[in-house]
């Protein structure tokens, strides 16, 4: 029984060790290379196509938002008579 206990302890220790070894890799040098490339791109688009997608979505919401606001404010300025 004692040998079994020792075996389980060793197994438990081993699995904890191997999960702790799964560490985050240092990707900063790669990022520095991407963002220092002399391609004339502004920083908000320099990360690639996902930057452009997010930018376009944000700008679309911005334009739509201004339009929607003006519509709601004009609507609120002319109260509807209730019958």
């Amino acid at each position: 029984v004692y040998q079994n206990v020792v075996a389980v302890q060793q197994m438990a220790r081993r699995s904890i060790c191997s999960s702790a070894r799964r560490q985050v890799e240092n990707k900063v040098p790669q990022k520095q290379k991407v963002f220092q490339e002399d391609n004339g791109m502004p920083v908000h688009l320099k990360g690639g196509s996902s930057d452009a997608l997010l930018y376009r979505a944000t700008m679309a919401l911005t334009v739509l938002g201004v339009g929607f606001t003006l519509y709601e404010l004009v609507k609120a300025s002319f109260p509807q008579k209730k019958d």
Partner: protein, 261 residues
């Protein structure tokens, strides 16, 4: 990128100030529309736009500093001044609510019964959950200082552990306060006591959430090797903000919870 003969940072043109301004327009108009017509669409749209703006603007600052090297010592000095001035403005924000509290509590009107706490108000016992909350925030001030020293000494794992502990303590405070809010025997509508209590502690709680979020971003950045032992201003800014939140709580605890009970 050796095109400049100075150490300052001339930023690339950016759309985020515009989108942020539009978000503010949408949130304010949306608030008015909500109050009159009971629809939250406009305000929610503004909130989404605000979150998108914050995410992308701060992502770009991390790119400019950590990946492009634009945060030279003079630039960092400017960022330090900026954070100090911002926190100072927040101090004045809270000062107003403390002014309101002391205005009503130092000279209680006959309508309140001429006493503080007002007649009919059952206050919270300052030596129960509020005292625990004080201990939690003070402890988190210690752990954030531990995190700072760990970063300065290049102790990666300790920095991650102490920063995580700080954030957990922040969540614990928020959970305890949420429970207190739910169980409180008075509401925001209970006269000037309720108003001053919930507005002051409510804005404080919001700042705890903001501070915890800032620290969580720092944790992610620390895990991704963004911070070096002598350049980690993002973390320092978060730690300053966290200490500010702690100090505001101490004033709230002494004034509203203890003296005001």
């Amino acid at each position: 990128m050796a095109h400049q003969a100075h150490a300052y940072h001339m930023v690339d043109p950016s759309p985020w100030p515009l989108t942020g301004a539009v978000a503010a327009l949408l949130m304010t108009s949306g608030l008015a529309i909500w109050m009159h017509f009971h629809t939250t669409t406009l305000m929610s749209l503004g909130l989404v736009l605000l979150l998108l703006t914050m995410y992308q603007w701060w992502r770009d600052i991390i790119r400019e500093g950590t990946f492009q090297g634009h945060h030279t010592p003079p630039v960092q000095k400017g960022l330090r001044y900026g954070m100090i001035l911002f926190i100072t403005s927040e101090v004045f924000f809270f000062l107003g609510f403390f002014w309101a509290f002391y205005h009503s509590s130092l000279a209680p009107t006959p309508e309140l019964g001429g006493c503080w706490p007002p007649t009919g108000i059952t206050t919270l016992n300052p030596f129960e959950v509020p005292l625990l909350n004080t201990a939690v925030l003070l402890a988190s001030g210690v752990t954030v200082t531990w995190a700072h020293h760990s970063i300065m000494e290049g102790q990666r794992k300790q920095a991650i552990q102490s920063l995580t502990l700080t954030i957990l303590l922040g969540f614990y405070f928020t959970a305890l306060q949420a429970m207190e809010y739910y169980e409180a025997p008075f509401t925001i509508a209970d006269g000037v006591y309720g108003s001053t209590f919930f507005v002051a502690t409510g804005f404080h709680g919001l700042h705890v959430i903001i501070g915890s979020t800032f620290l969580a971003i720092c944790l992610l950045r620390q895990a991704q090797y963004h911070f070096t032992s002598d350049h980690h201003f993002g973390f320092e800014a978060a730690a300053w903000y966290w200490h500010f939140v702690d100090v505001v709580w101490l004033f709230l605890y002494i004034s509203i919870y203890w003296w005001g009970s």
